[in-house]
Assembly symmetry: C2
Homo-oligomer: 712 residues x 2
């Protein structure tokens, strides 16, 4: 039964239930079932609370019911804390009672092996059949700090609240997620929602992101992810988040655990799943973070409401050493510490002492202490430089009282400029910000005394700003296929590796240029075909069973006349039969001999999470030795196809080196888009595809060889 | 006048003066001259203190002298805080008085332009003439926290002391250095010495490192470096620090500021100075850090007294999420999170609950809370695994009292194993370590609750441990040249770019294999030479003025007989004359035509700090497009020469790809060593050298072309 996509009404019973039953409720705070009732009460949940437990009459002064079926009123949300064996039965009762949503703390499911897996499968089935939505099992549950819904047994339910919560957080690790929650809170950054998804028997990570994307109370989202269930769903959610201007920051772990997979094609062997996640995040605009502290630093800067227009950065520091250290960090993260304009430097030189420096990073020296006006003068000068997008102000006002006009002027300058100004005051270790700095922070200037974290956050903001711009560009929308879905008839036989000519025939149906070629069953036929195609020609065995033609001696290049063709035909047939006597041989393919060009590879592999993934790389050693390739999840937009070509390290090879003319990058991107159409049309049929090499010319491209494996 | 190298006696008057004069002393604490006297008194300096200032009779109760010459006793150290114009005169008086060392706070020297530069030059001259050693000018001075020598006006003289100070710190940025000092102290890590070197008119950064390497109170050194004065001196100091087992950690800034230099050779254009620093640090075993927090985290772990034997790491965590996040960080830093042995896992599985995991990272789950013995059992199991070198224990004992036998057992296990065990307890944000964790820390177990910083520090320790092993290997000692210094007679004419044949003749003198070749002045002579060398041959114009022979049409390959040689000779001469009518043409070089091999480049460029620097890379696109090259400062050891070859990304190309046999890496390393001998022998003569290409075969190498530019 397909559900209509309405994430809010589907998941609202979790976030805004009118009533909550706690099944397996207890007064013992050491037990998971002992926490929600008291937490719901102490955090001011306004709805009805129904403890359920056959062994108690009252819990925390509330009447307790023997079973959910005995509860008198309607129940929106059930919190289930019973042993694994009783969970299915309990959820059946919930469904019978008309409960809409259930949080299942109980462990003993997929995490303990086959028996638990079967139990979990039955929960998934129950959810599908009854419409009861399940969070968990084996999770810490869910917390909504805006309305006191404490459907969790994590220690976080005991933590105090903070104001202005707009950050929603979803995690695949309960315990680590709770640590992130606590650390964030300690830095003054609170979550509005915290969801620990556990084993994802029904609802998954992306479903909760989806809710938050559509939820008005959430302005940005964080997540801890070990692996997505449904890459397509996560992609749709990410696209909608971009539409709504809500950043998603994900700490995706397992960068290094992806083992290499055995695969016939280059593409298959190069696609470690973490590289595909990287490509996916880039493609969808999800901000990948390496450390949760990046999320904590990003949030208040994003809430300040201004995005950097670009990456050009000016630094104002009170010490040369601090300035150059910041400049190094900026550059290593991809911010450009640009030379400032002559006028900008002149304006600063007029107020700076002679031993200070107006070069970027600007070094005010200790003069700022006694003459705070030079801080403001230099900030104004830098904000007036049209090439600057970001200003990093590592300054402070140690001897200036809050309320002093100079502080007001500093604030006004920060707030009125179109630059993104980061205020990162020096704070003596172990102390708080000084009163003037606190005033600046309270006025809404993006402030963080931890300079290194703050710069990382600014860089993430700049990346997000670029993503928004890119996604507004129609070039980055996936286009409908340029032709009606070609009928590939019986060409894609399940489980088959297609012969080269069959694979090229499939490509040709999609308008991808392939070598002129024809199959010949005899030497005479080969000569006839060679004359039609025009000399010189190439002869290759055509067999689904011989992948390595050179090794088999079944490939002859640059044949210049009838005699050479005749001789090559006989030799190839003999070599092929000797190489693999049981091979099915369709004949010998006669092909035009391509002039020299730049060789590239375009390939496709199937990822268990993301489906067909397209790879691009330069041929030969670039792929084999340097693994210099780019990936995108299909379908791709024209912009992404071009980015794939440009982002490899060896791109300069295509721009023309050593006197070669530039290669036709547009034609490469066009083939990537056609391959994207092919694998989207025949998503369930294509296991692997390699166009290797695709020969690229100053104008145009041609596929010289191809490999296509059909799914079983 | 050459000084005998005795860093202790040369600099001891700075660190351990028997008496100190403060020239320009004041009672006004806001003035630089106002701080040292009171700081010396309050920090318990035991020697004599002589304030000098003609306008005072007493300062802080001490008799004040009109000039240094009026001081009655001997003065070891003078602290000079007078205006720039008076500094030279004051130092002359100091020298006359027999003062041994002077710290000059005063600014107004090189940092303010040409006039100041001249003043500074005169100070350098004075130091050289009189033997008075100078720290500064324009510096914050020097602090010795072990004996109260507060020869500084930085705020750090007011900070409280910590015990067990063994970390010496030298900085090229005063203000930023002081921040590092304060931050470090806040984390409980104190410096024994703090030296702000200022403008380095006399003594430089490396001199103070040198002192600390030879000083018994210092066990490790940190530094903030913008640029070294004398690379050779820093290299010698680094080598001695390795000998003595004292790590040097340097925050070198300016990673990105090095502009590309205009140079005729590939080597010259690829050598950005920061890449050379990187190579230099690798070569000398200096640990380069990106953030001063790395120094702070490293110090206590190093002081614990154990080094990791290798990089194989096991992680024990109490949450799967935390474990995998740590594993990602470890792998990204170069630690190997290895699969544990079957027996190791079995031992753990016997005590762990079924939902826990004995896979590395080991996930104890929440079971550790109530059963702390499983922490110890798992630690013992992992310590018993012979392949593990490092154990990262992200555990804690929330419900265990200090003194509990389980804590004792945990400590004993950590202390008695030969593994490096890092204890990194979880600490609730904003709180302190729990009592059991504090007990573990106090017992001497390397402890740091900031897991991410601690792991970085462990990685730096592992790198240091490898460096010590490497440096003990005689292969990593620079060998004396294999042959007596060849006499290059008049071959190296100042300012000349040598012709190819002249450059190759120089290489041949050092035993570097070059193509058989001979110069021909006429077509007949070319034919004669070609017959002697053997067909096929190559003809090239030989001219110091034509660098790009292909472009000039002055290079003909694969000439097979007399006729082809005759024709090529005439064509080359005509083309060369047309290309550059004013070029000096020595004739045409007739060379053996080399069979195909792998092309590499070995080059030399001069660095203003480090002198001759050797570069290695694969030929063609690897250098031009990918900039995939390695550097070492000359002279190099055999081990470094091999590392240069192995560390490039394209090394696999030399191991044999696509059916090619492996290339002769030893022969490449041998050429690197011979080039190292050449540029060491003729250090002052060689400006640039490129052997491009050096053709490498399965056995042997041959230089096919060479460029050598002689210094002016």
């Amino acid at each position: 039964m397909a559900r209509i996509h309405d994430p809010i009404s589907a998941l609202d019973p979790f976030f805004n239930p009118g009533s909550i039953a706690v099944i397996g409720a207890s007064e013992n705070y050491a037990k998971p079932g002992g926490r929600p009732v008291s937490a719901l009460m102490s955090k001011g949940y306004k709805g009805k609370i129904y403890p359920v437990n056959p062994s108690h009459e009252y819990i925390h002064g509330l009447k307790c019911y023997p079973s959910i079926l005995d509860v008198p009123g309607e129940v929106d949300l059930a919190v289930v804390s019973v042993v694994a064996d009783k969970v299915h039965r309990t959820l059946e009762e919930c469904a019978a009672k008309g409960v809409k949503a259930a949080v299942v703390f109980s462990s003993g499911f997929a995490e303990v092996g086959d028996e638990g897996l079967e139990k979990q499968r039955r929960l998934s089935e129950l959810a599908g059949k009854t419409g009861l939505r399940i969070l968990g099992p084996n999770c810490l549950g869910l917390v909504n700090t805006t309305n006191g819904v404490m459907a969790s047994f994590a220690f976080i339910v005991d933590l105090p609240a903070v104001e202005d919560k707009v950050l929603g957080f979803v995690t695949q690790s309960g315990a680590f997620g709770a640590i992130i929650y606590a650390s964030s809170l300690h830095k003054g950054v609170g979550f509005n929602y915290f969801i620990s998804v556990g084993n994802e028997a029904d609802l998954e990570f992306a479903d909760f992101l989806d809710y938050m994307v559509h939820d008005e109370k959430t302005k940005l989202m964080g997540g801890y992810l070990e692996g997505a269930r449904d890459g397509g769903k996560l992609r749709r959610v990410a696209e909608e988040a971009i539409e709504k201007g809500k950043p998603i920051l994900i700490l995706k772990v397992g960068r290094t655990s992806a083992g290499s997979r055995a695969a016939a094609s280059h593409t298959g062997s190069l696609a470690g799943s973490d590289r595909i996640y990287d490509a996916f995040f880039k493609q969808t605009g999800i901000i990948r973070i390496d450390d949760y502290t990046e999320l904590i630093a990003f949030t208040p800067l994003f809430q300040a409401g201004k995005l950097p227009r670009g990456r050009n950065t000016a630094i104002i520091a009170t010490s040369g050493g601090a300035g150059v250290t910041m400049a190094d960090l900026c550059e290593s993260l991809g911010l450009n510490v640009i030379p400032l304009r002559e006028e900008t430097r002149d304006r600063m030189d007029r107020v700076l002492p002679p031993f200070a420096s107006s070069r970027n990073p600007v070094d005010l020296t200790a003069a700022f202490m006694t003459r705070p006006e030079i801080v403001v003068d230099c900030l104004k000068a830098v904000c007036g430089d049209p090439e600057v997008d970001i200003v990093i102000c590592n300054v402070n006002f140690p001897y200036t009282a809050p309320g002093d006009p100079i502080i007001r002027e500093f604030i006004d300058t920060c707030m009125s400029t179109d630059k993104f100004v980061l205020f990162t005051p020096f704070v003596f270790p172990g102390t708080d910000m000084d009163p003037a700095a606190l005033e600046i922070k309270r006025a809404g200037v993006p402030t963080n005394p931890d300079t290194m974290s703050a710069i990382k956050a600014v860089c993430n903001l700049a990346r997000y700003s670029e993503t928004l711009k890119r996604k507004k560009n129609p070039e980055y929308r996936v286009q409908p296929p340029k032709r009606p879905k070609p009928d590939l008839g019986g060409m894609l036989k399940p489980g088959e590796a297609l012969s080269e000519s069959a694979a090229k025939a499939v490509l040709a149906k999609y308008g991808i240029p392939v070598t002129r070629e024809a199959l010949a069953a005899s030497a005479d036929e080969a000569v006839n075909q060679a004359r039609k195609i025009g000399y010189p020609v190439v002869l290759k065995v055509d067999s689904p069973d011989i992948a390595h033609k050179t090794e088999a001696g079944a490939l002859k290049l640059n044949l210049k006349d009838d005699g050479e063709v005749r001789e090559a035909f006989d030799e190839i047939m003999a070599n092929a039969r000797a190489y693999k006597p049981e091979a099915r041989i369709n004949g010998v393919s006669v092909q035009e001999m391509l002039p020299e060009g730049t060789e590239v590879i375009i390939g496709v592999t199937r990822d268990p999470v993301f489906g067909p993934v397209i790879m691009f790389g330069l041929g030969g050693i670039f792929v084999e030795v340097l693994k210099d390739v780019s990936f995108r999840v299909a379908p791709v937009s024209p912009g992404d196809a071009r980015d794939m070509v440009r982002e490899i390290k060896g791109y300069a090879m295509l721009e023309g080196v050593r006197g070669k003319p530039p290669a036709d990058v547009e034609a490469i991107a066009d083939v990537i888009l056609k391959v994207s159409d092919l694998v989207t049309d025949y998503r369930d049929s294509i296991e692997e595809l390699d166009i290797n090499p695709l020969v690229v010319y100053p104008a145009g491209v041609k596929a010289a060889d191809a490999l296509l494996v059909v799914r079983r």
